[in-house]
């Protein structure tokens, strides 16, 4: 498991996209657990992760991305250094 830090690009993308402090983002943070991460923000998170890591996330993974930790797993599956 990664330790959240300002160096962590996944954490940084989530924090920036959701408009929350990086300290509030951990691998355990789940979709819909905070008001900022709703279905609307989810699309922005996906787009931001695609931009940041230079990958294309497919539909199944979008649906499966239920937490920050899960996003990290998906990025690794795509060969991104997350």
């Amino acid at each position: 498991m990664n330790t959240p830090s300002s160096e962590d690009q996944v954490i940084a993308v989530f924090a920036r996209t959701l408009g929350i402090d990086a300290g509030e983002v951990s691998d355990e943070l789940r979709y819909n657990a905070i008001p900022q991460w709703d279905s609307i923000a989810h699309m922005s998170v996906v787009a931001a992760l695609e931009d940041a890591f230079g990958i294309m996330i497919d539909m199944d993974d979008v649906i499966d991305m239920s937490s920050v930790g899960k996003a990290r797993e998906i990025l690794r599956k795509h060969g991104a250094a997350a």
């Binding site: 979709y31 709703d38 279905s39 609307i40 989810h42 699309m43 996906v46 787009a47 695609e50 294309m56 996330i57 497919d58 539909m59 199944d60 979008v62 649906i63 991305m65």
Partner: protein
């Protein structure tokens, strides 16, 4: 007479029986579809007349909505022992440009719903829709209210107004609309993603609006429950304007 139209010098009222509601509630129901009055006395007189008409049709549940800014009408309704049970917002969007960007791979496809889709669409409506006039009325049995939503999507499919939203051959939700082509206008009747695909709500709405734009529809309107903050945030992000607030009332006769 399944409809009532009262027109006097000091006010107007229209009402109709709603057999589609009676079908699930098990008793006759009617809706006041419009009411205008220049004074409290006139409003109360119209309400007395509509109650007489409703009673003659054995109606037990009489309901409607009024603009929440209309203090006189709201006072008259309270005075006539109606209760306010829900609030809705009338919203609209003019022009279809400037929709939020969604990765193209995320957009579902829409196809006209067919009879074979009805069981699944009914299930989605029953399980995953939690807002609406009857669902929010504490006096209405929740199972009946859910059944009413399921019946509604079935009726919309049978009327040719519903579309199935699919992604990779999986049904993720549905969208129903009523077009007014001569006015280049559409009413969004019932749209929603199935719970497992709630994350795809934004792409579903975007594809529905893009589909309207492709058919030269330039304005769309809909009614949203004020209690449904998730969908209100979605419509705000989609660039809809909030036009009016409607206070939903009802009375058991």
């Amino acid at each position: 007479m399944t409809e009532l139209a009262l027109d006097t010098a000091s006010g107007r009222l229209s009402a109709r029986l709603t057999p589609w509601d009676e079908r699930v509630l098990g008793f006759a129901t009617a809706e006041i579809t419009g009411i205008e009055a220049s004074s409290s006395v006139a409003a109360l007189d119209l309400l007395l007349q509509v109650e007489d008409w409703a009673s003659a049709h054995r109606v037990r549940y009489l309901f409607g909505r009024v603009d929440a800014r209309h203090r006189l009408l709201r006072a008259a309704l309270l005075h006539a022992d109606f209760q306010f049970v829900e609030t809705s917002l009338a919203i609209s969007r003019s022009g279809m440009g400037g929709l939020p960007l969604v990765p193209r791979g995320m957009l579902p496809t829409l196809r006209p719903a067919a009879a074979a889709d009805i069981p699944l669409l009914r299930q989605i409506a029953d399980d995953d829709f939690t807002h609406g006039r009857f669902l929010e009325d504490p006096a209405i049995d929740e199972a009946h209210a859910r059944l009413r939503t399921a019946n509604w999507i079935e009726d919309l499919v049978n009327a040719g107004l519903a579309h199935v939203a699919e992604s990779r051959s999986r049904v993720i939700g549905f969208h129903a609309e009523l077009l007014h082509p001569s006015e280049q206008r559409a009413e969004l009747l019932l749209t929603g993603a199935a719970a497992p695909y709630a994350m795809l709500a934004m792409p579903l709405w975007v594809i529905a609006l893009e589909s309207l734009a492709a058919r030269d529809i330039r304005r769309c309107t809909t009614l949203v429950s004020a209690a449904n903050t998730g969908i209100l945030n979605l419509y705000a992000r989609l660039g809809f304007q909030f036009n009016s607030t409607l206070a939903g009332f009802r009375k058991f006769l």
